[in-house]
Amino acid sequence: MAKAKANQKVHPLEELIRTERLPHIWCSGCGVGTVFSACLAAIQETGIDHKKFSMVSGIGCSGRGAGYVKLDSFHTTHGRSIPFATGIKMANPSLNVIVFSGDGDLFAIGGNHFIHAARRNMDITVICINNFIYGMTGGQVAATTPHMDRSATTPYGNPEMPFNLPLMAYASGATYVARWTMIHSRDLTDSFVEAINHRGFSFIEVLSPCPINYGRRNKIKSLDMLKLFADNTIIKNNADPAELDIDFKKGVVLGKFVDIDKPTPDENYEKVCMMR
């Protein structure tokens, strides 16, 4: 028995996964799992004691991330992962708090919380999986759906314009801002490591495919979407956040755009209020 066990191949991230909960709910062709793996790999790479991590998710496909990670993990209400994480971080600043959620959760229903956490430079890491759609509910238009794209609630094309998320993060005060796609898994992991080690509010947008609910309606096959991620993207660190609109025809800019050091609210609270 012992020998068999020794020879058994163990997934390198196994100690961070609630394996008893597998299989996961993510569809084949979905990118969330890849981003999730990159996040876990980054947690391992930091070398920080796992007990010092907590993951908070909202609602949606990406929001299920917290349910599979073997950390103290919280699956909260729709849009509220950031204020929940804020409560954790302020009450125990020694913890590394990662928000793992989707574009609908973080930027439509939860948009107000995002800009305020960024303004405060709250020392949390926010990972937003942007799949351009509400996946869990069956493919309705999101605040990130490109103009004229089709969804279950924009059958004639999206009449609205989407957010430029890194610009919003930067304008709101985020001190670390990056964008990658899920196929850039090495860069993504490196970026997550940086973000976790970063003092202050860090934000990483990860473009990710939803073949079932976005690709299908917009006639983009699973592999073609990944090809867009590979071929129609440009890595340009320190690019101007105002020029980060997503248009695959022109080329989508990836990279790290902001990395500045500023004090955080937990540090400032201690200085201003407690040590007065």
């Binding site: 908070v56 929940f84 302020m90």
Partner: protein, 381 residues
Amino acid sequence: MEPKVLTGEHFINGDIACAEGAIAAGCTFFGAYPITPATEVAERMSERLPDVCGIFIQMEDEIAAMTSILGAAWTGVKTMTATSGPGFSLMMETVGLAVVTETPCVVVNVQRGGPSTGLPTMGAQADMMQAKWGSHGDYEIIAIAPSSPQEMFDLTIEAFNLSEKYRVPVFIMSDEVVGHMSEKVLIPEAKEIKTVARIKPKGRKDQFKPYQPGENGVPPMPAIGDGYNVHVTGLTHDEQGYPVMSVDTQKDMMNRLLSKIRDNLDDIIRTEEYLLDDADIVIVSYGVSARTAFTAVDMARQMGIRVGLLRLITVWPFPEEMIRDLSKRVKGFVTVEINMGQISREVQRCAGANAPSYLVGHAGGTVITPDEVIHLIKEAF
């Protein structure tokens, strides 16, 4: 820096007494959003929490305020927020999350006239049913109604104790009048204040089930970083805390969430009786209106009418059995409350056909006078 417990005699308003009660109870995290007439609770907490190494944070809205106190509670600390009607409405979805994840927290509602923006600076007691039913789904919570600044202090401590013991959100259903009224408040010595500490799990961490009930049907609660790797979700979950979308899991989870309150009514329910033993007519009241009711009882007694008072200190869970028992021997009930009939309906439901139930209510904006109560008693009985 002030000490944790401001032992002594104070002349302070209800909102400030509430904040002092919270600090004395061991609250070290307050998620705020300003709203009249509850703002003074937040202001006092912002001033006082640093004294006890506590955290005050003013969030971007009431949803965030309520959510932040749940996150903070899971780090092992006692948490509170305070609001009024419009903010209470915004908090309701998160109240459901607190109930289903069994996260202890105290939520103060200094009630004002509603609906909507209503009467921001004027009192009412019209959120009483919202406190019980405001979030979706079935659930049990605990709601306490202080009648004075002294009780704002004493009962805020009680609220924390009940919240920790039963892992349930506890509402302090105050009102603008009690919140803004200044009276003498006696703060005892720290050693005389009884506080309840959260029960933490023991035993093997890898075999721990976060929602396996312990004593009184309440599971022990670890903090983030204790090494239990808990998963906490608003989805229907099993004892492991994992989501299970099944009829049986829903039934088991709901049964336990309801029964941890319903099986412990004797421990939770607090009432005060005044001249009730020989009463023919029972006034039921709570909060500021109970002050009216005390005077009304005295006035009625002087007229030779045998009126007594049942004051609800906890309004939820409702003292059904007490009302039912009383209904078998009294002529009827009169509920005095600043709304158009909320708790009076509960009284009516419990009294059934045994005794009639009347309301002395008001749309809000002022207190009810004892004369109005006497007038109804004379007309109805």
